[in-house]
Chain length 333, copies 2
Amino acid sequence: MVKLRDVAYKAGVSTATVSRVLNNDTSVSIETRKKVEKVIQSLNYIPSRTAQRLRHQQKKSNIIGIVIPDIQNPFYIDVLQGIEDTAYDNEYAVLASNFSQNEKREKLYLDILKSESVDGLIAAPLDEHDETIIELVKRGLPIVCVDRGMNDIDVDAVVVDNFKGAYDATKLLIDLGHKHIGFISGLIRIPTSRQRLDGYKQALQDYGIDYDETLVKFSDSKRDSGQQLTIELLQMKNPPTALFTGNNLLTLGAFESIHQLNLNIPNDIAIVGFDDMYWANSLNPPLTAVSQPGYEIGRRAAEMLFQRIENNDRPTVHVVLKTKLVIRRSCGS
Amino acid sequence: MVKLRDVAYKAGVSTATVSRVLNNDTSVSIETRKKVEKVIQSLNYIPSRTAQRLRHQQKKSNIIGIVIPDIQNPFYIDVLQGIEDTAYDNEYAVLASNFSQNEKREKLYLDILKSESVDGLIAAPLDEHDETIIELVKRGLPIVCVDRGMNDIDVDAVVVDNFKGAYDATKLLIDLGHKHIGFISGLIRIPTSRQRLDGYKQALQDYGIDYDETLVKFSDSKRDSGQQLTIELLQMKNPPTALFTGNNLLTLGAFESIHQLNLNIPNDIAIVGFDDMYWANSLNPPLTAVSQPGYEIGRRAAEMLFQRIENNDRPTVHVVLKTKLVIRRSCGS
DNA sequence: AATTATAATGTAAACAATTTCATTTATTTT
DNA sequence: AAAATAAATGAAATTGTTTACATTATAATT
């Protein structure tokens, strides 16, 4: 590892001078500068960011971290893109990590990011009591939660109205005459899953349909589960006539299974999915979906984070964005 | 900012002792340890990772970086997942960054990752002459290239046989009777784009079809371009009867446009896409695609990187994986 | 020619931890 | 009781930069 001192020695100047060259200080003569630069080149020297940071530890790293629950899920990709574009506009860089809904990995990545001296963090907590997040907030690291908020601690969050989204979706199916509506949910510990389940239940209740727990399946929100559980639902003695899928990947899994079984959407089974996808129109049939503004969530979260980095004392803000029901063909008509 | 010295002072011990407590050194008495721990608690002290790192910079960070050209592209997500799973098995963490095919952003992220002391890097270079990559390799940072290799420097790479993939796709369309085959390519500076174009041209030539450059459109490999250019192709006086799309996003863009124009795939226009997607079966119609083993690419690249981190002197390896033509319905029959 | 101002460079002290080596104290062995 | 060993702690060097302050050389002013 070649260090500044090596450069200084080979160039026959002091370390201070090399440092000045490096930092474009004007008070160094042109010849000296050239000489030093030549040596820097020849030795292939790069200053150590660690040492630089230690020296003036007030300096921001201009990096934010983001911890994503599942990179396979296009919704989070949208969020990430929103964060990234906003970050870039504000001269921040984004380091992303994906924990694949795995608790241990989440903790690992949070620890790493915090110690990598990011200026702030955007995270989707595991649940409302996520201890690692609580600890980081307590330590004063600027954090904004996305997708899921926190209960036990005051922290910025950008979420959507999951209850209403699920309610709307269920109501649509009810309005279309369905009384036997299956629901494939994500893990019940995840707040969004619970809220969506509540919306589903409430809609049923409001329209006088009894809640039938055999019609509700819980999953890890991954595509394979969507496939599997759809098959289970369709093979019931009295299978549902409509299906509400709790997220993107579950929806795609359901589509896959239904096509494999050679059934028709929406005639054999109607579908409304949580999360729209940009290729929803190209699916067979075009998907009716509860659209979350992923990019907007990311944009807002990033903006809030940058504010908080500037002033960590400002009061916390909870932003609740609206979902939109996009009606296409998979729900019938 | 409370520092180790403050703790030492308040606890009435030396900094060395505090450091020992922190690092679970056995040679510190139980009483002292307890006393120090109490002070650490009360002062809410957290050691500075920057200082720690500066101190023993030889230690591995057990973090690898990855620089992704376009996070929107599901292919790269597969690669990332492969990398991540392998990394996790090997006790590495992955920090990902996405440069959205933007040269400036790529350089920014490479600089950041290198200075954030990652142990190694997996990158998809902008082109075969990517200067930032060359510089990093020269500096001795362990690097493995994915998707695209490098010409001017010896570096590990995991790629697929793009030429053959494109050749197969084009040949399939020719075999199905098409003589007027459009091609939506990515940026010509990107090696994979050129290789795919070459495969396309070669297949045409081998089967006695003249190359018609008006049938070939170049794009930034993003979905919007796919949409736009498909429309341009379809609105030609003598539009193609079949379309070969150069990647995932272009394919989805093409689907979108064709559906918007209310045309039928494959009757009005047949499609073969480069890159399979796990929901290809649920598209309307199911997509015929050149499947790249994304996950496998990621897995291999990660393994090669870990080897190189252990021994940066081992000879470089080029792995060329095969593509597979998955025939479904979008090409007709 | 002496004084002052300016420009270019160097010295050494930070920054916040870890660690080698030395020292003190307590314990065991002779 | 003296010597040897072990355990606990501390002093100070170290890590790679930056920078306040000091110094030297050069040019400008009196």
